[in-house]
Symmetry: D3
């Protein structure tokens, strides 16, 4: 049993609010435990310079935390430079969502996925991906419905989860307190069909064995399939 | 009658959610019509350099819009410089809240009021001030309750509203569409006791007469008193 | 009587030097008391991106203080970022001058009004507007004379003044010392025909009553008409 | 057989030049195939702010490519902002080297590991880590020799390698051409004692199966042990 | 005879206005022909970090052009980065003035020499040095007079001039038109006692011979002595 | 005799490695004593904006020091702004190489000369020019060989050297220690045919006499001719 009463492989409760903001093509307020991320998908009729004239569209992510999303206030990155951590997370979100899209079906269009963390209690980057998929799917489905896209570019669901090892126990979906005290921390992104998109394991505190690595990847895979089911349920209720 | 069915002096419906975020000393989700601003007040035990060693504390505001708070996506200011408009609004929020505080009672402390616009439909800066006051009051009351402040520095409520003239009619609380089509646009900040804190009238399109100026200030004063009553009601329900 | 011997509604002496710099289309050294602002109007054959292809031209202002325009040296903003105060003033100058121009008559052209404060003793932003109008008028008249503009876009003079209340007395054209000790500080921009372009009243120290607001606006209106007369006299002597 | 004649698990030839630059505490020119990275370790008597007063020292990495390290010239990052890719690599280098150090033995000191890529042909970040370890070890050993460190903070060797899958074949130590054509790309950092420090697998092009993941990790582990042997040989010849 | 009627070694008329701005310790409006530079010397009671705790003070220069000091408007550097040209000029001004000061007599103090070009017609950097010397001397003399400096740190006058070769003729004090059409352009800084402080000769268009170099240095030396006499005359009239 | 055993006019040993990096059109590792500069010439098919549509190409230089090229580590300029010193050196390199090129023969092309200092022991800017010429010549000769340039734009060799006066003795090619203790420091750039391209003499410590100036220029001229001979020898061995 964990401090918060969960079993090692138990996720926190998930709450998915569709259309939280009325302007974006797809908008989702994604909550898992106390982590609350607003995922807005905006589709525009242009592509980055390096794709101009090609047959492909683009999907990119931006990630930001409100200054008081955390226990103590952090300075707004808008007043300085974007940190290395933010850069890494933004690139991760973009890669994860492009991995499940047929970019040719987005030809001439770009999707901006803005993931703004309103409240943070661990797992904000994985929440951004899991919620971001729903916003992306909403946006694409609606554009197909309105005839602005011929076919839906989304090929497979994608979701993400954190997993860690603390005193020999492998646990999924770490909250902030667990995350801070884990020896190893891994973020895993996986498709609905069970293939890996990203594995990011980091062991600054103490390197981990081959065996521990195997345990973590198995637990992550299981947790991700549970999230994929919740994504599907929420999308069934969407007004398209 | 206006396009949206309101009478010239009728405000949009207001919704005030206390403690929307769990970490800040004071947190309020302030909604007026479709405008939705998250106001978080953080109190820290330090003051800006120019006040170090003095007998006063400080109150300052930061304002930001999420990229898709508006009809079309705007680039995040974090990737460039803060615009002149943002600068102006932040300074206005800070001045408005300092005007009703006895800064000596905040000695050694600073309040950061983060106003993040989740959804924008006109009047975001006045909503930030009106909601910001509630967050500030919540935060200060709690610090008094916990003995971290000896006395509450807040001396008087403060609220703000926009007012404009369109085809000869003076209207309060403009939504985005009205704001875009008005000839004159004025933002007024006023205390609960009916004194002006700020008057910012701008007539880029067509200068206004002395008479029109008088009408606008009167209408604004009335609208602000209505907001002050709603602030008070919300605060009565707060758990301190 | 004020400390400097002026009556409450008495302006400081004004000195207007036309063609102070030989290159700009319009150049004016505007002095009011010890405040000395160099206003240069440059007209270029292009418009900002957002006006390309439209039927309108543009007027914009830039404002800067030399590092030693003040009692103590201030760091040059060129070595950091432009401050919020500078941003506000630049936007005010631009709006004030656009308010009296028919921008269609400037189609395809932009006016840059550079206001550089050589010596500051209060009222630099209002001096920039009052002197800026003269430089703008000079520049436009000359372009009409040379056939580069079909008609003069300037429709009405514009001038600006500060007004404040100190110990119950309402005074116009505050110098630096008065400005620092006033309870309320208002900047008013008005056309030659007596209509308001901007009212910016700020009462960080102590909010002001409806009555005080009325007194200040009346005094400002009177002062501005005196400035408009001096602008006209100077322009009569211009070599066009 | 690969295009370059190597077998799937064969590394490119490694060349290690100790003391390439005469000023740093530790300097290594690390070459693997055509990839050439200069790794300089500088030890200074100060720690970052967040460690001041603590009992720990720090190890951090910086990574940069000369503009013409690649086939076509890239703009120098010094003329703009550091890219997300550079940020990620720098953080990876820092974490990898800290993972094998007892930071308490560095109390009051920081190691800067500057990794400058002179020539790039794939695997620059893993070369930076593998060469960086040698520079770090050289620097620490010399400081122990001179009595400036009481004990050597380095606890275990560390090395890194890339691994990928192309048309079903798993290959290690990808050169630029292979890297560009791989379906999956993974970077693995491992200690001399066979524990993982980092696993970064990315499959933007096509997600990979659980089985492929296992193959890649095994091949990486083998390649890393070969690098660790070459590090040890080079260090035996060092003049301490 | 030159286009402007001057003989090859004839300077343009010089006009020196002392105390043009009332706040700085030393203020000089220096005009040579149509070039007009405002030189303000500010003395502050602090030194740059690298001199803290030493027995020396510091003298540094800043240089800026107003946007419309030239035929066509140039963007204000405050909105971007300071250009390489500005950097070079600022460093030149600082070195030139430090060369004639005994910095020990400025212990604990720094002189900022702000050189702002109001109107530019060639030779702005040499005007900044020649005028800057007068402002520096004024400021130091006054501080000696007020007892804030024990002895005057200025040991020797310094002045600067441009010299060039056009179609075989060597000419001094080039105006903008001459400067643009010269084959070679040299800026020379020299003390009142006839020693070189700086020689900066540049021949991007066509390299120059040893003989031409000799001619230019001789002509420059003569011109500088004429400027030194005019500096002395102006300073004799100063109210100290 | 100098401290390092050299006679006053004796250069340090020079080592020139052609094709040090395999990708650039011209690559040279230039070493003089312990100073080691990597000079890479890249030729691209575009010109800066100000030359678009003209009949000329362009040559420009960039200069950077690795953080640990010096005795103590310097922060990477990529994390801040480029310093005034770097700006000056880059402009000097560009002017020096353009002075010996017929830019019309480069029509439509630009040469970027990247000079990265790996190890610094005085004279890095002059080494960058001397080595840069070789890289430029290599690159241009190869483009002529491949038919991408019709004729070689390089008209004359160019090389550079430092010269200084210490206790009355004039010495060439100063190393770091000599450079730091010299009274006067001059950098001279000269063509193979013996004409000056740049003379930059600086005497912050103590102004120098006309006589000393003559001695320094003569010694520099002699040293440069020795360097030109070594450039020619190296280029004879190039594989074109």
């Amino acid at each position: 049993m964990r401090l918060n009463g969960r079993s090692p492989i138990e996720l926190r409760p998930v709450r998915i609010t569709l259309d939280y903001i009325k302007y974006p093509e797809g908008s989702v307020l994604f909550e898992i435990g106390n982590t609350r991320v607003l995922c807005n998908a905006s589709i525009v009729n242009s592509v980055p310079t390096f794709l101009e004239g090609s047959d492909r569209g683009w999907v990119t992510g931006e990630y930001s935390m409100l200054p008081r999303a955390t226990h103590t206030r952090k300075s707004r990155e808008s007043y300085g430079r974007v940190s290395g951590r933010t850069h890494e997370i933004q690139r991760l979100i973009g890669r994860s969502l492009r991995a499940i899209c047929d970019l040719k079906k987005l030809k001439g269009k770009s999707v901006y996925l803005d993931c703004d963390v309103l409240q943070a209690d661990g797992g904000t980057r994985t929440a951004a991906i899991t919620g971001g998929y729903i916003a992306l799917m909403l946006a694409c489905s609606r554009l197909v419905g309105r005839g602005e896209l011929i076919a839906n570019p989304v090929m497979d669901p994608v979701a993400a989860i954190s997993v860690g090892i603390q005193k020999g126990t492998c646990m999924v979906d770490l909250d902030y307190e667990e995350d801070s005290s884990c020896d190893v921390d891994m973020n895993v992104v996986m498709t609905g069909s069970g293939r890996f998109v990203e594995i990011q394991g980091t062991a600054e505190q103490s390197p981990f064995s081959v065996d521990e690595q195997k345990q973590m990847l198995e637990a992550a895979a299981e947790g991700i399939q549970a999230l994929v089911r919740q994504q599907a349920e929420a999308l069934q209720k969407a007004e398209l």
